[in-house]
């Protein structure tokens, strides 16, 4: 058996940084306070001291410039990891990501690669209200040229970030602010998690629960609770929203014949619709009931833990949806 360590999501991220920066000197970090502070959640703590200011760049408060810098330098052979502190601020960097990073490989007729990781974090759970808590991942899923990853735990974030850094596509790497202090046992030895491969977090036979990011843990808890009632849930973390590992998902639904999708983002126009459509399209004959979407409500995230948890999915809501679906 491999040796293990218990680390937080933030620490696992830091390890991934360090390993990849040691492996490839073209990898560098850029963002607001990624150096001195070591990033808001301290995930890059110590890197400035270890690698110096060329490799760990504290940028001015200029999201468009950070993203543009990443694209320009990637075209010249660097492998930037560009941090946008909150996904809410990515609204300021969209032009560089959508019109340039996602387009240059094609526009150069396949000659200019864009090995960029745009790291950011979204979601609720830290009581910072509607301008600091959004779930905007589906914007990127609809943009050809981008890969979209959402790591749901320390194990995932480390292996996925390492793969994202090595990938030659622009990767949107969307973390969750409520996960940075989550702990998990992970291998000490180096490991990678391939992009585009879903993770069956928990096997089960009655219903397939597809959950992303923070929602994975709620889904697992719901599954544990339902287990006691004799309901067996299979929980799948797609990990990569695009390209999506449809095979793993469909294989599961073929078995369970029931499906629930859980996302923090609101339903309308969100990724839950994409997941539901994929399942409907792929398992139409086998599905016993319509896919249920358990999602954030159509509201700005209000202030405070109590209200936050009332407008996004939680264990209880997932349990209820599954019971409903299975008529139990």
């Amino acid at each position: 058996m491999t040796e293990t360590q218990v680390v937080t999501y933030g620490e696992a991220l830091g390890q991934a940084y360090r390993e990849e920066m040691l492996r490839d000197e073209n990898v560098y970090l850029i963002g607001e306070d990624v150096g001195r502070w070591g990033s808001l959640y301290r995930s890059s703590k110590g890197l400035l001291a270890q690698f110096g200011p060329k490799r760990v760049k504290d940028a001015p408060l200029s999201e468009a410039a950070i993203a543009g810098c990443a694209v320009g330098s990637a075209a010249m052979g660097m492998r930037p990891i560009a941090e946008i502190m909150y996904i809410d601020f990515i609204t300021i960097a969209m032009d560089q990501i959508v019109n340039h990073a996602a387009k240059w490989y094609q526009l150069s007729n396949g000659k200019v690669k864009m090995p960029i990781v745009f790291r950011t974090q979204g979601g609720a759970g830290r009581r910072n209200s509607s301008q600091h808590s959004q779930s905007l991942e589906n914007w990127f899923v609809n943009i050809p040229g981008l890969v979209v990853v959402m790591p749901s735990s320390p194990y995932e974030i480390k292996g996925l970030l390492k793969s994202a850094v090595r990938d030659n596509n622009p990767v949107m790497f969307i973390e969750h602010k409520s996960l940075y202090f989550a702990k998990e046992e992970i291998p000490i030895e180096e490991y990678l998690i391939p992009l585009g491969v879903a993770n069956v977090k928990r096997e089960g036979s009655d219903v397939t629960v597809i959950a992303t990011s923070w929602m994975v843990s709620f889904a697992i808890n719901a599954a544990e609770q339902l287990q006691k009632e004799g309901i067996s849930c299979e929980v799948i973390d797609p990990r990569t929203l695009w390209p999506l590992d449809k095979e793993t998902i469909l294989r599961s639904v073929e078995k369970t014949k029931h499906c629930v999708v859980v996302t923090e983002a609101p339903a309308e126009g969100g990724w839950s619709a994409e997941a539901a459509a994929v399942v409907f399209e792929g398992c139409f004959q086998l599905l016993k009931k319509p896919v249920t979407r358990v999602t954030g409500m159509r509201t700005g995230i209000p202030y405070g833990s109590v209200l936050e948890m009332q407008v996004i999915p939680n264990e209880e809501k997932i349990v209820k949806a599954i019971r409903n679906l299975l008529n139990k």
Partner: protein, 320 residues
């Protein structure tokens, strides 16, 4: 400046200092939930700028605006209640300490740095077109001056001669980023030249200096003479937020040096020199503190914002 006015400003600063101290405690007690950005040491800016506005003038703030708000005339109660998630807060308790709107007082504060600069231009444009004499004030930091929004907003406001007073509150840092390493020019007021505005930098720890510079800009704006940009030099005495690892970007000595230039101390010694009695000042301060505690007690009794509120005002149902 006459002593009465200065006394008013002094009392305002004292209120803000105690208010901020109280908020920090509330944050430590987890009664304020969101990120909280202390204001200690910058009181002359809020007092010298925001307190000159009338209720129907607009004030746009940022993530560090609880003191701007109170200086503009929003009650301590409504502001405390907001930060503590109560229905009687300015945003009904839905916003928190980093973003809130107090519609009745024309106060708009958001937590996306720089975005308020074009928003202020839009309000100024409305006032100009409505031929009103209302003006707009917009507070942002050294960090904010590096945003694309700064450039687009200032250009538009200056071009159209909008009645907006932009206050660049240079407190030397944007989070852990020292101004010299993030802004490519010094002083920051040089940036006014890009919009053919006057280059103005004032000592932001001298409430009288701030007041006078801003008073001129407000008169100009009211008179239809357009936009101003004023750099106000000050210092953020405390961390960016509570728990900020300040040692990563500055020394205790530097902070201590700036503490010497405390705006309240400076103003107090001027007032004493002008013959105001120390015990008069102290009495006022006691009253302020007493009232603050009453405000806090009141807020602690207030009901929290509700789920119904959170889903009620997302949009206005269509008329069909």
């Amino acid at each position: 400046m006459n002593t009465v006015t200065q006394l008013t400003l002094y009392n305002k600063m004292v209120l803000l200092r105690h208010f901020d101290d109280m908020c920090r405690k509330l944050k430590m007690e987890d009664l304020i939930w969101s990120g909280y950005h202390p204001y200690t040491g910058q009181e002359a800016v809020a007092a010298g700028c925001c307190s000159q506005l009338k209720q129907d003038d607009c004030l746009l703030g940022n993530h560090r605006s609880h003191c701007h708000a109170v200086a503009k005339g929003t009650s301590v109660r409504a502001m405390l209640a907001e930060m503590m998630g109560r229905q009687s807060g300015v945003s009904g308790g839905l916003g928190g300490a980093m973003q809130f709107i107090h519609a009745e007082n024309n106060l708009f504060c958001g937590s996306i740095v720089g975005s308020n600069i074009p928003l202020a231009a839009g309000m100024g444009m409305a006032f100009k077109d409505q031929q009103s004499h209302r003006v707009v004030m917009c507070m942002f930091g050294d960090g904010g001056s590096n945003t694309g929004s700064f450039h687009e907003g200032l250009n538009l406001a200056a071009l159209w001669k909008l009645p907006v007073i932009y206050i660049l509150e240079n407190n030397q840092f944007a989070e852990a980023m020292p101004v010299a390493e993030s802004v490519a020019c010094s002083p920051l007021s040089k940036r006014a030249r890009s919009y053919d505005l006057e280059e103005i930098t004032v000592d932001g720890n001298d409430v009288v200096a701030v007041y006078n510079a801003v008073a001129r800009a407000i008169s100009k704006a009211r008179a239809g003479e357009g936009t101003s940009l004023i750099e106000v030099l000050t210092y953020r005495i405390r961390g960016h937020y509570m728990g900020d690892p300040e040692e990563t970007y500055r020394t205790k000595e530097e902070v201590d040096k700036w503490k010497e230039k405390d705006p309240i101390k400076l103003c107090r010694s001027q007032l004493l020199a002008n013959g105001v009695a120390a015990n008069e000042l102290d009495e006022m301060e006691s009253m302020i503190v007493k009232e603050l505690h009453e405000d806090k007690s009141w807020v602690l009794q207030q009901p929290f914002a509700t789920f119904e509120q959170a889903v009620r005002h997302v949009w206005i149902p269509l008329e069909q």
